[in-house]
Every structure is written in structure tokens, then in C-alpha cells.
Amino acid sequence: MAKPKLALYWAASCGGCDVAVLDIEVKILDVAAFFDIVFWPCATDFKYKDVEAMPDKSITLCLFNGSIRNSENEKLAKLLRAKSVVLVAFGSCAQEGCIPALANLTTKEAIFKTVYLDTPSTHNPDKIFPQPVTKVKEGDLEIPVFWEKVKSLDQVVDVDYYIPGCPPQSTQVAAVIEAVIDILKNGKPLPPKGTILGAGDKTCCDECPRTRKEKKVKQFYRLHEILINPDECLLDQGIVCMGPATRSGCGALCVKANVPCRGCYGAPPNVHDQGLKMLSAISSVIDAQEPDEIDKIINTIADPTGTFYRFSMAHSTLKIADL
């Protein structure tokens, strides 16, 4: 029997997800032994045309990381969808937009202006911007088209499963891969479509070792403004921690390191909009009665949109991702 085929791809992402796959250590050898890796731009030398040449549904499993920023990302997403039996949105960018999707708070024009004109290290007196097609004497040069907005993978193609995290924790990746191998080897049924793999059903608080009290917040602090008590709930201390509105699964790594949860594991089950939910929760624990005082406390939250929607902007109710 031929080996099942595995493809990995990175779209608009930092590369951390690819590292997370390698971070499963010796188990990567099991992966290489069980699967036939047919496409992995980060690690192996395959061309897009190799993929195009494959018959449809010939790739058993495709782990797709990164969000959809430009035409190349979108093209590959559609291509891999067609060639794969199971397409997994791997990591926060593919699942819900992640950091790249924060660009949805601004416009393509503004981004280009900043990148190609305004940054102090840029010297561009002729105001030249990248063009999709450039004519040179040898012919036309093409580069991908930069879309107006960033989208998650499932906003472009049909996605079967999700593995959350920025990046997904290696233990969770290893566990998912083991489960996949088990399913394929023993012919077990696949989980229902849309299942979030490699994560829990509770929130980050469930894995957090800190002691929690009834919450009453008089002032919000940024990390450098306060000496953090390592045993007490960060939110109790006035630090905006996304833990309560973030799916469990990471093992509460950040909070154990005295850093508030940033919310990379996405919304818990039943929550439609992670940022909105956290905002609603935070606003409920402000300990003040007078509108002026409430305003004053709220104003101590630094960068609310970036804090509450750091990972979930593409899917948010704010609907900035509309195209």
C-alpha cells in the first residue's frame, strides 16, 4: 500500500507554525516514516507546478498555516483544497487571522504608505510602489497582488479541522499527528467536520495555577507598571489577561511565566466573538459607579482593539474583513 501523502504549506505567517511541527522532536521521524511528504516549501524542494500536476484528492492530509494576505496565498489555498482529502487550518493565522489580520484595522493604501514611504529607513523619492505586473525587456514580471484585507483560511476555502495556537503547542501537534496516524492505520472514523483539534473545551483559566478571587478592578495596569504577584490571578491584579475568554489547551504557558494570556488559542466553544466576549466580561468587573470614574478606569486599558482582537480580528463581529 502506498503511504498516505502529507502536505504542509505556509501562507501569510511568521514561520513559527512550521517550527512547531519540527518541535515535536523525534516524532517527526514517525511522520516521515508513515507519510509521504509531497509538499513542504519550508523544508523540502517542491514547486507549485508539482502540486498542480497531482490528481485531485490525492493528498491525504494538508496542514495549512498562515492567513490569506495576497493572491498567491489564495491561489495555493484553493489549489491545496482541491488536491487534499483533509485540509486543516493549522495555527491561529489560518484559523482566525491572527496578527496579520490586525492590518484590517487600516487600509492597503495606508500600509503601503507606511512601508514604502514613511518608515525612517526608506528612501523612495520616486514614490515607487510594488506593481503586480512589471514589464521588462525579458518579458512580464509578476508578483502576487496584495489584497485589501486579510482573511482566515476558512473565509477562502472549505476547511475540515482547526488546530489553534500561535503557534500550536508541540505536545498538542504530536498528539494530533499520533491520532491521525491511528485513524489512518486502523480505519477509525474521522471526527466531525469543523472540530477543533489539539485543544480543550474549557478556558485557559482551567489550566492556570493562580488563585482567583471575586473580581473588582479599580485600575488596569500594563506589565511594567506593577509588580506582579505570581500566585494571584492576573485579572484580579488589574492586568488584562485574555485567559477567561480563551480556549484551553496550551497548558497556561504564558500565565505561568507571569505574562498575561494573549488569547492565541481562540474563542472557547459557544463563544462567537472572543474580543467582544472579553470586553463584556472586563466591563462587568470594573469597580466603580460613576460614569466619569468608569471612563477613567477604562482609559487605563492600553490598545483595546489590539488587546481583545489580537488573534481573532478576521472573524470578528467588527466585520472589517468584509471584501
Partner: protein, 587 residues
């Protein structure tokens, strides 16, 4: 016990009793000046000098501090004593000719004038006569030792150490109290501790907080009481005959388990000084309604006598309605009781004085049983009713210093004329307003308030005594301004509500409740402090929160706040609401 003979009267007293006390028992008056029961005899004025005869020898001693012995014969009014008293009084008169207590004592002793000239004549009526009472009370009773004598001879005077104000002075006023001439005066700046409910003058640290309180016993304000500051004083314990003063009592917090609670926290009165145009707090003889009520009270400071600050009876009294109520600057609502108590005031002033009485009203609201009849009766009594809200109260230009003539300016809307009415006493009918701590109380009991600030009832017409919190009832002015019959009716209704539950023994609750899915709750505790009905408990060992079905009212606050969406309003789950919306939008 020893037997002594004072002016031929035999009297039995304890050995070592001062002669002064023994004489008192025998009914013999001995003049005193420096003496006070509050401290040890001082014996400085020598006015109480008496002649003690033992056998054939006689001695002049001071009665205040000379202890009696068996068989003493004492002469309090012998020729020798009369001569000594005369010299003492004449010396005092020569130096302090106008001091009341000196003149009175001299008169009592039959001394008209002094034969002596004085080098240091002090014409003042409140001159210091160097009796030393203030020094002694400060040293022995207050134990502050702030006052002392300085210099000698005619330069002797009572001073503060080094002539400076001392922080050891606790402003108790004991020195002013014992000063026989009024040389030491208390200037009341502000009350230090918790204020009594209301007052017509300065109060001591021990006072009766509420005239109508049951039991009607005084309390001690530990913040300003000397005893609690220095451990001394205890004057109140000394004078209390039944020995009811107990300094060891402490404030207690008592926890009582109750299934139902009736809130009757009452009202506060509008502070008249917020409307400076009426002169409250600035002009003498401008009273708030409660202060005047206190004056009318037969157990009050004037014994029920209506009088001006100078003690005279008023010649004309103005009663001003709607101070702070029916006023968009302050309270838009009508306080409902003022018209009737204003009429009662008028009736009692009419009854007790000869004063002309003016009522300044917007319109008369005599709506209750027997009220309109009372109004008619008042009109027959000759009260002048002026329709028009008073504009201002000013001191009249012809007012001599302190005679307190006031002028009420207003527009009389019935004759369409501007009027100025001279009076010497003004009574303000202050609005009833919510208690200052209404919001704190509200939060404790999870109830709302209406726009006027009073507690909100469940339904203004059909359920005026219940609140939106089950088991919490309101009655009286805590719910809104009302008179005594209405308060009694509402309180009775609330009591009946409460009794009906007690007799039934069980309560029915609404099925709309919040519910926490253990599968999704991670125990972040965000919902814990939110619940206005304190229905959410945190289970420490399971590290999850749960909703108490009996306490929950299904308001949904926790549902919205739960960051994990682990809380669902039963019957209002997201899926149900979304399905409803879809159904609606399909049409």
C-alpha cells in the same frame, strides 16, 4: 458619724465631711465663689470663711475644705465672719464692680458699695475674678491642665501656658461651663464628631440622638468625648444617679438571619442653606421645619415655648412653603406633607403667641381626611395666606443689631402685587429628600431607585410596597414623601405581604433562571461579584461557579459577562435567540 453644732443647729454627718456640706445638710447657706462640686475644694476666695469654736478657742477657717470633727461648734454668721465677708466682698466689688455674680453675692450679704479704691479696676461685666474654677476643672476633671495662674498680686491672671493655644486643649468647654462670670466663652465652629439628628444649639458629647427614639436614652460620641481621649472626666457617670453610664460598651455588629426584610429608612430634609436667598444658617431666627418642630416640643429646649433667639416672643412669623420641593433647581416633586404641617405650625404659633402669622404658598394641598376642614379652621383663626412663593428673606434696614427684624419679599399672585412682609421669625418648609446613603443601601438590597432618588417599588399603583427583589419590602418615606396615615397604611400592607409568605411556608419562583454548564466553566470568577442577587457561588474544590436557583432572578447579567459563554439563560440560549431572529427575518 459625728455630731457638730452649726449656728446652734445640731447635725450628724460623716467624720471629715467639709463644713460646707454639713451646713448644707443643716440648711444653712454659706456664700461661696471659687467652689464647685466638680473638683476638690480650693479655698482661695475665703468667702466661705466660718468660725470654728472648740472649747474656748476659736479659729477662722474656710468651710469648703475644713473637715468636721466630733463636738465642733461652728458659727457661720458671727460678727467676726460678717466683718470678714464684708471686706472680701468690698475688695471684689472695688475691683470688679460690674460682674453679676459679685454684685449678686454682695447684695445677698447686704453689701451695697465698696469703701476701697482699686488700682486695677475692671469695669467689664464678664471680667475674670480669678476664682480659679476653670484652672481646677481643667486640671482635675478634664485632666488636660491647659489653664494655669500666672504672675502675682494684682497682675495675677489665668493664662494658657506661654500664652499659646495648645493642642492638649480638647475644646471640651468645661472651663466655660464653670466660669461664674462668663469670662470664658465657647465659640462653636463646627461639631467634631457625629452630628446629632438636629439641634437648636451646641450639644455635648453625650446627647439623645433622636427625640422619638425608643428607648429614649442618650449616647456618647466617642470621637469628641473627653473620657475616650484622656481616660478622665467621667462627669456624666458622676452625675448619673442610676449609674447608667457604661464606658465599656462597644458598637456591636449583630447578624440576624431573615427571610424577608422591610426597609423603612425614612428621609432626610433638604438643607435650607442651599437656597441662600432664604438666609438659613446666616440670619438668626430662620428655622428649618424640624428645628421649629423641636422648639414646639414640650420636652424640647424651650419647653414648647415659641421664642426668638433673644428670648422674646415673636411679633410676626412667616412660614415659607416648598423650600427645595416643586423646584426644578432642586427637587421637582411635591413633598406632600408640608402644607399640612405648615398649617399645624400656624395653629400652634397662633395658640402660644400673639404673633401675626403669614403663610407663603404656591397652592394649598389639603388632600387627606379632615385636612381641608383643618385648612378652613385656620383661615377662621386669622392666618394671613399669601399665594406666592417667597423670593427672599433679608434683614430689614431698620433692624438694630440683634433685634432680628426680617423682611420677606414675594409676589402676591392673587392681588398681582409685589409685597414685603416684616416678620421676626421665618420657618422654612424644607423638602423631604432621600437619605444620603440611599445608593449604598440600594446596593446592599439589590433594589432600584426612581428618578426622584427614593427606593423604587415593584408597581406604583398595584404593588407599592414590594420591590423587584423578592423578600425586600419598602414602606414610608424611604419609598417617597408621605404623611403618617399613608406610611402606616403602606407599612401595614408590607407586613401583611410578609406574613402571607410566613404562613404559606413556601415560595413560588419563576422558571427563567441562569444556568452554568460545568463542562465549560473554568472558574474565572468574573460572574461572582456581578450578580445583583448574590446568587452565584464559587465551589472551591471543583473550581467552578454555580447559580443558586432560588436566588437567581434570570436577569442575564452573568450570561452577558461570562467570557466562556458557559452561562446560559434558560430559554434564552444563543441558539434559541439566533433561531428566533432567523425566523423573524425570513418573513
Amino acid at each position: 458619724m459625728v455630731t457638730v453644732k452649726i449656728d446652734e443647729i445640731e447635725v450628724q454627718v460623716q467624720e471629715d465631711t467639709p463644713i460646707l456640706k454639713a451646713a448644707e445638710k443643716a440648711g444653712i447657706w454659706i456664700p461661696t465663689m471659687c467652689h464647685s462640686e466638680l473638683f476638690e475644694p480650693y479655698g482661695v476666695c475665703r468667702l466661705c470663711s466660718v468660725e470654728v469654736i472648740r472649747g474656748k478657742r476659736s479659729r477662722i477657717v474656710t468651710a469648703c475644705n475644713y473637715p468636721v470633727r466630733e463636738g465642733l461648734t461652728i458659727q457661720t454668721n458671727s460678727a467676726k465672719i460678717q466683718w470678714i465677708r464684708k471686706i472680701i466682698m468690698e475688695l471684689m466689688l472695688s475691683r470688679w464692680p460690674n460682674v453679676k455674680v459679685v454684685k449678686e453675692t454682695a447684695e445677698k450679704l447686704g453689701i451695697k458699695e465698696s469703701r476701697f479704691p482699686s488700682l486695677e479696676r475692671d469695669e467689664a461685666e464678664d471680667a475674670c475674678i480669678l476664682c480659679g474654677r476653670c484652672v481646677n476643672v481643667c486640671r482635675e476633671v478634664v485632666q488636660a491642665e491647659i489653664l494655669a495662674f500666672a504672675y502675682r498680686g494684682i497682675k495675677r491672671e489665668v493664662v494658657l501656658p506661654f500664652g499659646e493655644q495648645s493642642d492638649k486643649c480638647i475644646v471640651c468647654g468645661a472651663c466655660a461651663l464653670v466660669c461664674p462670670t462668663g469670662h470664658i466663652k465657647m465659640v462653636i465652629e463646627d461639631y467634631k464628631g457625629k452630628k446629632p439628628e438636629f439641634t437648636l444649639g451646641p450639644k455635648t458629647s453625650i446627647y439623645v440622638p433622636t427625640m422619638q427614639g425608643i428607648p429614649r436614652v442618650p449616647v456618647i460620641d466617642a470621637e469628641s468625648c473627653i473620657h475616650f481621649k484622656t481616660g478622665g472626666c467621667e462627669t456624666c457617670a458622676k452625675v448619673c444617679e442610676p449609674h447608667a453610664i457604661n464606658y465599656d460598651m462597644k458598637e456591636e455588629v449583630v447578624e440576624i438571619d431573615a427571610g424577608q426584610i422591610l426597609l423603612t429608612t425614612g428621609y432626610d430634609i433638604f438643607d435650607g442653606s442651599k437656597m441662600a436667598q432664604f438666609g438659613y444658617g446666616m440670619l438668626d431666627n430662620v428655622y428649618s421645619s424640624l428645628e421649629f418642630e423641636l422648639m414646639l416640643n414640650s420636652t424640647g429646649p424651650t419647653g414648647g415655648k415659641v421664642q426668638l433667639k433673644n428670648g422674646k416672643a415673636p411679633r410676626a412669623v412667616g412660614i415659607l412653603h416648598c423650600i427645595g420641593s416643586r423646584d426644578h433647581e432642586h427637587h421637582p416633586y411635591c413633598s406632600r406633607v408640608c402644607c399640612m404641617y405648615a398649617l399645624k405650625f400656624a395653629h400652634l404659633v397662633h395658640d402660644r403667641t400673639e404673633a401675626a402669622i403669614y403663610q407663603f404658598y404656591i397652592d394649598m394641598r389639603a388632600f387627606g381626611k379632615g385636612y381641608e376642614e383643618f385648612y378652613s379652621r385656620l383661615l377662621d383663626e386669622g392666618i394671613t395666606m399669601i399665594r406666592g412663593k417667597a423670593a427672599e428673606v433679608v434683614e430689614s434696614t431698620w433692624s438694630k443689631n440683634g433685634d432680628g427684624s426680617l423682611l420677606i419679599r414675594c409676589e402676591d399672585t392673587l392681588i398681582g402685587k409685589f409685597r414685603e412682609v416684616p416678620v421676626d421669625m421665618v420657618i422654612l418648609c424644607n423638602a423631604m429628600e432621600p437619605q444620603k446613603d440611599v445608593d449604598a443601601i440600594r446596593r446592599v438590597f439589590s433594589i432600584s431607585k426612581s428618578p426622584d432618588g427614593f427606593f423604587l417599588e415593584r408597581h406604583p399603583k398595584l404593588d407599592p410596597t414590594s420591590t423587584m427583589s423578592d423578600g425586600i419590602y419598602i414602606a414610608g418615606c424611604a419609598q417617597g414623601p408621605k404623611d403618617i396615615p399613608d406610611t402606616v397604611a403602606q407599612a401595614s400592607s408590607a407586613a401583611a405581604h410578609i406574613l402571607s409568605y410566613i404562613s404559606k411556608g413556601e415560595v413560588e419562583i419563576d422558571p427563567v433562571r441562569a444556568w452554568i454548564d460545568e463542562k465549560y466553566c473554568s472558574g474565572c470568577r468574573i460572574c461572582n461579584s456581578l450578580c445583583p442577587y448574590t446568587a452565584i457561588d464559587f465551589i472551591e474544590d471543583k473550581k467552578i461557579s454555580i447559580v443558586n436557583d432560588v436566588l437567581c432572578k434570570g436577569c442575564g447579567t452573568c450570561v452577558a459577562a461570562c467570557p466562556a459563554s458557559a452561562i446560559t439563560g434558560k430559554g434564552f440560549s444563543d441558539a434559541q435567540i439566533l433561531a428566533e431572529l432567523e425566523g423573524l427575518l425570513e418573513i
